[in-house]
Every structure is written in C-alpha cells, then in structure tokens.
C-alpha cells in the first residue's frame, strides 16, 4: 500500500480539526493560541503535499514551498505580537481565562 496525496491531505485535515476543536473547547488563552499554530501547520502540510504532487519540470512546485516559508514567517511574527498582547492583558486583569475577560460582552 503506497502513501498517496490522500493520506497527507487527510492527516492535514485531522490536524486542522484538532486545532479547531482546541480553539472552541479550551478556555485558557495561551492554549487557544497554541491551537491556532496547530491549524496554521495543518495548512502548511497540505501546501507542501500539493507542491510535491504537482511537479513542474520534474521538480516540486517551489512556489508552494515559498508560500509555506512566508506563512511560517508571518506566524512567527503573529506569535510574538499575540504573546505581547497576552502579557499586557495579564498585567491589566491577572487572568488568562477567556471567560473572565468579558467587558465587551453584551
């Protein structure tokens, strides 16, 4: 039994579903943030799988891999900014539990 694109896409989808479930189930803002990273990585896996699947002149499609490179860069910047916001939030409220942060809740 050979490994096909199907397997990679399904693993990618499962990883995305795990991240999605984590974002909706967990109430700790740092763990929600980790689950966001999980979802970004799931997207990267499907991009790399398609890059290997769609050969250009017998080589993987490197445009997809450059896109993955950009996603990793932007995700790293996002983590830095997001964690700085969490630290500022913790200074203001002394909590990382999302249900304690409800000033804007109607």
């Amino acid at each position: 039994m050979t490994i096909t694109l199907f397997h990679y896409l399904f693993v990618s989808g499962l990883l995305f579903a795990i991240g999605l479930a984590g974002v909706m189930l967990r109430r700790n803002i740092i763990i929600i943030f980790m689950c966001l990273e999980l979802m970004l990585n799931a997207a990267n896996l499907s991009l790399v799988a398609f890059s290997r699947f769609n050969l250009v002149d017998g080589l993987p499609n490197y445009n997809a891999q450059v896109l993955v490179f950009f996603i990793i860069t932007v995700a790293a910047a996002e983590v830095a900014v997001g964690l700085a916001i969490i630290v500022a939030l913790y200074r203001a409220r002394q909590t990382t539990h999302v249900e304690d942060i409800n000033s804007l809740k109607f």
Binding site: F10, A21, R26, V66, I72, T73, V81, Y90
Partner: protein, 171 residues
C-alpha cells in the same frame, strides 16, 4: 516515504496534537506542541521539502516554543483548576470538528487524482535527492522577491509593536 514511517510520524503528530488540547497544564501542552511540530517536520522530509522541514524545526520547535514557554513561566501559570464546563460549547466544538473531518473524508474520496501515487522526481545522474535549498532560494529571490521584502518590513513592524506593547505603561 515508506508507509511505516509515514504512519509513525503522522500518528506522532496527531497524538501529540490531541495532547496539546487535552492537557490541563500549559507547560505540558507547550512541550506536546514541540513533539507535534517535530513529527510534522518529518512528514515534510518525506515530501522532499527538506528546507521547509529545517525551517519548521528552527522557527517552531526553536523560536516559537521558547517564546511560549517564556511567557508561561513569566505569567507563572498553574494547571487550570476545574471549572463548571459549558456543555453546549463542548458539544458544539466537538460536533463542528467531527463534521469537518466527515466532510473532508467524503470530498477526498471523490477526488480521484489524490489516490494515484506521487509522481517520481526527475533527478540528474548521480543525484539522490533534489537541490531543495537552491531551488527554494532561486524562487524566493527571483519570482517572489517583492513579497520577501514586504515580509521583512512586516517583521520590523512586529518587532516595534512587541516592544511598544511590552512597555510597563501602555498609553
């Protein structure tokens, strides 16, 4: 990639991904996330994307995880105490995730091209694998040169933003 290795690393990625969600202690979650990312990097190696695999390990397993662990220790977070769980939210979250996986399964079953094996690479004589870093670099600095520079500006903006946000007095 041989099927055994694929299943091993896919299982590693998914099991530790579940552990990230299931752990009560944020430090344990962060460490599970590292293992999950390492498994993912191994899957990238199986797809002949060596450069992306190395960048994944350096950026995620290195930089991002250190940042997460620093913040968790800085905030001195303890394991979450059990609170009354919001049952509709739990059920809804699991339902959406399961519905997503079911729909993905149905769509992928009908996507016939995905069931063909991966095409073989055209390697020059004497090569055992692609010149991955060179090819990514060529694409990055020729076709995608402008986006590359824009990303540089983005990182500068993010750095300044983090410094401003981390000041003691936000004005």
């Amino acid at each position: 990639m041989s099927p055994i290795l694929f299943y091993f690393f896919a299982a590693l990625t998914l099991i530790f991904g579940v552990a990230v969600v299931a752990n009560r202690n944020p430090v344990a979650s962060a460490l599970c996330l590292v293992v999950s990312f390492l498994g993912l990097a191994s899957l990238f190696v199986g797809l002949d994307a060596y450069f992306i695999a190395v960048v994944q390990v350096l950026v995620y397993a290195g930089a991002v995880m250190v940042l997460f662990l620093f913040i968790i220790m800085l905030l001195d977070l303890k394991a979450e105490e059990r609170r009354k769980i919001n049952l509709p939210a739990y059920a809804g979250g699991i339902l959406v995730a399961v519905a997503f996986v079911a729909q993905l399964w149905l769509v992928l079953q009908r996507f016939s091209a995905a069931h063909a094996p991966f095409p073989t690479l055209w390697l020059k004589d004497g090569q055992t694998s692609v010149d991955d870093v060179r090819n990514v670099g060529t694409t990055l600095f020729s076709v995608d040169n402008l986006p590359f520079q824009v990303v540089g500006v983005l990182i500068l903006v993010a750095t300044i933003g983090v410094v401003v946000l981390s000041k003691r007095e936000l004005k």
